[in-house]
């Protein structure tokens, strides 16, 4: 029973990986790149992104988490690839489907695999009401 649901849960439900990445996996992750998504920006023009056509999806917004510049987002992204708080599920390309980073204000961001090329991610803040927020915050503090 539940085989299909188990398979899909493994692929979709966000679970923080407990076993550390291997050196090869870490190096691979450090080659990932950040691509912004206009759906997660109130003012996507600051990131050089084309604003989406109305009506806009109700996505979380980097601006609301204090990220207004692409350079800041990129710096946060790099911190995330180095700290490597990643998901259990790995994509066929060998990248974790998600990884997470916490900024100095305690905001939690999720980087989701997917973009215009292999290794590209887009990112967004996650809400405090998201149960993963506390799990990531706690895991981030413990991660060396």
């Amino acid at each position: 029973m539940g085989k299909k649901a188990q398979q899909l849960r493994h692929e979709t439900i966000r679970t923080i990986r407990t076993a550390p990445l291997t050196d090869a996996q870490r190096k691979h992750l450090e080659g990932a790149t950040y691509e912004g998504s206009p759906f997660h920006k109130r003012n996507p023009g600051d990131f050089g992104l084309t604003p989406p056509a109305a009506p806009r999806p109700d996505k979380t917004l980097c601006d609301e988490a204090g990220i207004f510049k692409k350079v800041v987002a990129t710096r946060l992204f790099k911190r995330g690839t180095k700290r490597a708080l990643v998901s259990e599920f790995m994509t066929p390309a060998g990248f974790p489907k998600e990884f997470w980073v916490v900024d100095s204000e305690g905001n939690v961001f999720e980087a989701m695999y997917g973009g215009s090329r292999e290794g590209a991610y887009h990112g967004y803040p996650i809400r405090r009401s998201d149960p993963l927020f506390d799990k990531v915050s706690s895991a981030w503090k413990k991660k060396p």
């Binding site: 917004l61 009401s129 998201d130 993963l132």
Partner: protein, 433 residues
Amino acid sequence: MSAIDFQVCEWLGTWDSDPRQDATLASLRLDAGAGAGRVCLTDVYDQIARTVRPYINVSAYALARWLLLNWWRLRWEPPRRGADWLLAHSLAAIGEGYAWPPAVISSDGEFIQIQASAESACDVAAIRYLANAMLDVPAADFEAAVDGLAGQVQLRLSACSGEDRDLRELQEELAEERTDPQLANTCRLQAIAGFNPGDAPAGWLDEMENLCHGVGPGAIGELAAVLPSLRGGLQEAQEGVNQLRRSGHEIDLGWLRTPPRSKHPELPWEKGARLAVFVRQLLGQESGPLTDSTLGDCLGTALPMPFIERRALKGGFRSNGNGRTRVAVPNARPESQRFYLARLMGGALFASKDDHLLAVTDAGTAMQKCERSFAQELLCPWRDLDAFTDENGLGDDAIADAGEHFQVSDWVIRTALVNKHKLPRERLPQALQ
């Protein structure tokens, strides 16, 4: 009208990254509750548009998939603490970068509870949720609403990008589990215990089946509900049952008769209160405090009963069909004992005749809600408490006096007053708020 409705107000579509999510971006509205209590859980203030709207623009596919993936636990699992429980029960856990409602879904087995909290400020999104709600939705309505949403999403995908194989296979698997009685029971028990179907450890199902033979088909669900709180798990549950079976203390619950069923659907707490009124009639004392003497006489024992020790598994065990029920009283305080024994009476009325174990637990199952409500109404009839507090006030001293008058604890009085909206929730002890 269904007590819960996922309504696709409009398909929007987009061009983000995942074709399934893109095709099913929709203005989606979620309403729950009945009559004057109906609430739009997707009422939001949009700070960009500076307007209030009753829908959110989200991926219906992501929502449908999450509901199906967590179906058994949403349908059957009672509330618990912890992020892991919330990941399967909070809409906010759907993720995918959307600002989902801060609403939590749980179950007592008969009804689905939806709890939503209004936001005081936008939380890394341009929308702020406005609805505060604690709602009970008939389980059948919830099941139909989820099926309806999944069907709509599949139709939309078929029209746009082709039927989604994952979603179809998920729907088929769930349909098979739901329609096969044995499979459904197995999935249900795992879900009540906090497992997704198929995730229970090896041997768990066999042990549960063995336990079921001993305690009864309804009681096994009550045990499943408390298993996560038992450090020793199933073994501790079995030992607890054995201890109850061997207890040297008995009470008589054989005189209890089941009243006619209610003509209308009733929530578990409503059932408990109604049963208590009936039992008061059986006792020939429809109002006023029940003395230890009256309570003891009807149970065939003297109160207070000997206090044995605190145990993880509490309740009674009846094996002969004559209503004699072995009990181990886990409280020394007289008012706690009275409440516990009253809960056992409520449990005896709620349980089926095939159940030997009458569990008394902290779980949020329908039976436990019925027991608590029964005990409250039996020992402290609302009409009497209402009149008492009208006369004596609602101050702390008056509440303490009411507790003494009805021989129940302070928190029973406060809980009753809060439930009837006569006392604000803030007057409950912190742990109960």
